[in-house]
């Protein structure tokens, strides 16, 4: 009897909500057998602020600053997505210059988001230094975006029918200097991290997600592409000026942590290409569409808009009754689905792998909780 309980004794470990590696306030209830995870149950909602409820209590325009508070690491992407969604619903055409500016800023923000993920992931794996290199690069992006948006993290830059402010010379110079610098840095990252034998051992073959699993759990973004599924909303349901730009969608093969890592690194390079091309083609003209109402209200009906955020497919489902205040605004956030697959990936791994897998999914918890 005693022997039996000794062998089969498992214990619960609360990983979070205050834990260095849960990035935000996520709680994982782990049932452990020694260091092996038997069962994992994510508990979320610690930073639920009720953005969808707020949306039902304010006008379409007034919701704009909320968008950047959901996923604060890719605030501009959410900003952009919301504006595109409302513009589609209202039938507003955006001047090309504004759209190019938005894409440049959004892609820079995507790089910043991936850089932060890169640093934080290496921190999870115990390498402190790449984190600060990544922050150094990210700092450049924040400074560049600050030149035109006026803020560093929670941007509120896009407006219905355009952007709030035109690009200035400091921004253009900053971007032109930044692109070659990041290219050099990416090379160093490959030497320092991607080829490092310890890193390879920690990530190769860990947390393998099959394409079927990914589809079952509606996983999207780099996590899905690491499993080899070619699905990028920018290509699948092209929006904005992406059809005019030439870029590739990097794919992984095995769907393990290493592929998820590598796909993101390659995506940064593709985003750089997009920024480069968009800068080259940047047309002149107005930055705000003429004749857009102060507070546009979409005609009655249901609208959906899909957007590729840094973490995957962002879906905005709007229901309007033609009034100033939305009836319903559903945000389909990518991390929500990406986290739901975690219990499946974790079963049977070690605690150290738990951190490696959790980190590789690139979760932003306030985005999940909304």
């Amino acid at each position: 009897m005693l022997r039996k309980t000794l062998i089969h004794d498992t214990f619960y470990l609360n990983l979070g909500p205050q834990h260095p590696s849960t990035h935000g306030v996520l709680r994982l209830l782990l049932r452990l057998e020694g260091e092996r995870v038997v069962e994992c149950q994510p508990v979320i909602g610690y930073s639920h602020r009720g953005h969808e409820h707020m949306a039902q209590n304010r006008s379409w325009l007034q919701f704009l600053p909320n968008t950047s508070r959901m996923d604060y690491l890719s605030a501009l992407l959410y900003n952009h997505a919301y504006c595109l969604a409302v513009e589609r619903a209202c039938g507003i055409t955006v001047p090309p210059r504004a759209e190019y500016i938005r894409v440049i800023c959004a892609e820079l923000n995507r790089i910043a988001s991936h850089l932060l993920w890169f640093g934080a992931y290496l921190l999870d794996l115990g390498a402190f230094t790449p984190f600060l290199y990544a922050f150094d690069d990210r700092e450049d992006i924040l400074a560049i975006l600050g030149e035109v948006t006026g803020s560093r993290l929670t941007y509120c830059y896009c407006r219905f029918g355009g952007v709030a402010r035109d690009l200035n010379q400091a921004f253009l110079d900053g971007v032109r200097a930044f692109i070659p610098k990041l290219r050099r840095r990416l090379k160093d990252y490959h030497t320092l991290v991607s080829k490092n034998v310890i890193f390879l051992n920690r990530t190769k073959g860990i947390g393998v997600m099959s394409p079927e699993q990914a589809r079952d759990y509606a996983v999207t973004g780099p996590n899905l592409r690491a499993s080899g599924v070619n699905y990028d909303v920018r290509k699948a349901e092209p929006y904005s000026v992406y059809p005019e730009l030439d870029f590739e969608v990097p794919l992984g093969e095995h769907g393990d942590c290493y592929d998820r890592y590598y796909v993101r690194l390659l995506e940064m390079e593709q985003s750089l290409r997009i920024v480069e091309q968009a800068l080259e083609r940047l047309p002149s003209g107005p930055i705000r569409a003429a004749g857009v109402e102060q507070e546009p209200a979409p005609p009655p009906g249901a609208y959906h808009f899909a957007y590729e955020s840094a973490r995957g497919q962002l879906g905005i489902y709007l229901v309007s009754d033609g009034g100033r205040i939305p009836v319903r605004m559903k945000w389909r956030v990518p991390s929500f689905s990406n986290l739901s697959v975690l219990p499946e990936l974790l079963a049977g791994t070690l605690v150290a792998d738990t951190i490696a897998i959790l980190g590789s999914l690139d979760l932003v918890i306030p985005e999940i909780d909304r």
């Binding site: 260095p20 115990g126 390498a127 920690r202 605690v351």
Partner: protein, 333 residues
């Protein structure tokens, strides 16, 4: 004034005898040295880390921020010592003391200079390894007594890791001992008259350095206190100077293993121009710098990979190395 001092000295000498007095003075010196050295090493670590990471590091307190660690130490001393209610009080309090004591004792035999070891024992090397083995007991006690799951996991990891890495450490040191023919550290340094042992024993040197890094729980082998997995590992529940003692022990331990590495493989205090003690310290700090450099470059290994590495690679290679050394020594000597 000096007369009074001289009288006291004479009196002490008469009462305790020269040997005991030398030990007491030496012990006081070691205690002071340990503190100063640890404070300096923490400062060095922070500076090295900072410059690797494109930062400046401590710079406000004292010249180049040298006094920053002193201030931090004062802060630690002044903090409240918290004992968690479900903890085992006796073991919890005892553990930091027990972790700190064994790291002091190797200083008895470390040959800083030809005349400087306090006691040049003929089993000096064994004494060092014996006492560094005690470390793990204290960590296990602390981790278990905290009654915290993270601390317990950290303690378990620590025991497994220390047991595994002690073996290649000893085996690689043993091949040097075979070459020198003595366990006395002074003799080992003397045996490196013509050439450092690192030239004859490169494999043993690398094995020793890797093992020593693991033995001192330094990154990339810092899994007992892996902060991203186990929060702080075995010392999660410790605060104030109890935590400070763990910290102090870690850095002093680092100094000890680096000193042993210098003695075994890098010619100890030997070197031209400067007096021996300077050469010894220079080499030790250089080696410690390399260890820090490694720490700030690599990610952490996973626990099972670490064990695999020790049992499947390091121990067989160390054994093979020992065998070859013994054979060659037999044939040559």
């Amino acid at each position: 004034m000096t007369g009074w001092l001289h009288d006291t000295w004479q009196w002490l000498l008469a009462v305790f005898g020269p040997v005991a007095l030398a030990l007491v003075v030496g012990l006081v010196a070691v205690l002071v040295w340990v503190q100063v050295n640890a404070l300096f090493l923490v400062w060095l670590e922070r500076k090295v880390a900072a410059h690797i990471q494109l930062r400046i590091g401590p710079k406000e307190v004292g010249p180049f921020g040298l006094l920053q660690t002193v201030v931090d130490g004062i802060k630690l001393v002044s903090k409240e010592l918290i004992t968690p209610r479900p903890a085992n009080w006796v073991l919890f309090v005892l553990s930091p003391l027990l972790v700190f004591t064994p790291v002091l004792l190797p200083f008895l035999v470390l040959p800083f200079a030809p005349s400087l070891p306090l006691r040049d024992l003929n089993v000096g090397l064994m004494l060092i390894f014996a006492f560094s083995g005690l470390n793990v007991l204290a960590i296990l006690m602390g981790g278990w007594a905290s009654n915290n799951k993270y601390a317990l996991l950290g303690a378990i990891r620590s025991v497994a890791q220390n047991v595994a890495y002690e073996i290649p450490l000893l085996l690689s040191a043993m091949s040097v001992v075979i070459m020198a023919g003595s366990l006395r550290l002074g003799d080992i340094v003397a045996a490196q008259e013509g050439m450092w042992f690192v030239v004859y024993q490169p494999v043993a040197a690398i094995l020793y350095l890797v093992g020593a890094t693991a033995e001192t729980n330094r990154a990339p082998f810092d899994i007992p206190e892996a902060e991203s997995e186990l929060v702080a590992g075995f010392h999660t529940e410790y605060s104030g100077m109890r935590f400070g003692l763990f910290f102090l022990a870690e850095y002093t331990n680092m100094f000890v293993v680096a000193s042993v590495a210098i003695t075994l493989f890098f010619g100890g205090w030997r070197g031209p121009f400067l007096p021996g003690v300077w050469w010894f310290l220079l080499k030790v700090y250089l080696l410690i710098f390399v260890v820090m450099w490694v720490r700030w470059t690599f990610p952490r290994l996973r626990f099972d990979q670490l064990m695999n590495f020790a049992w499947k690679y390091m121990i067989p290679i160390a054994l093979l190395n020992l065998l070859v050394t013994a054979l060659v020594m037999k044939l040559v000597g």
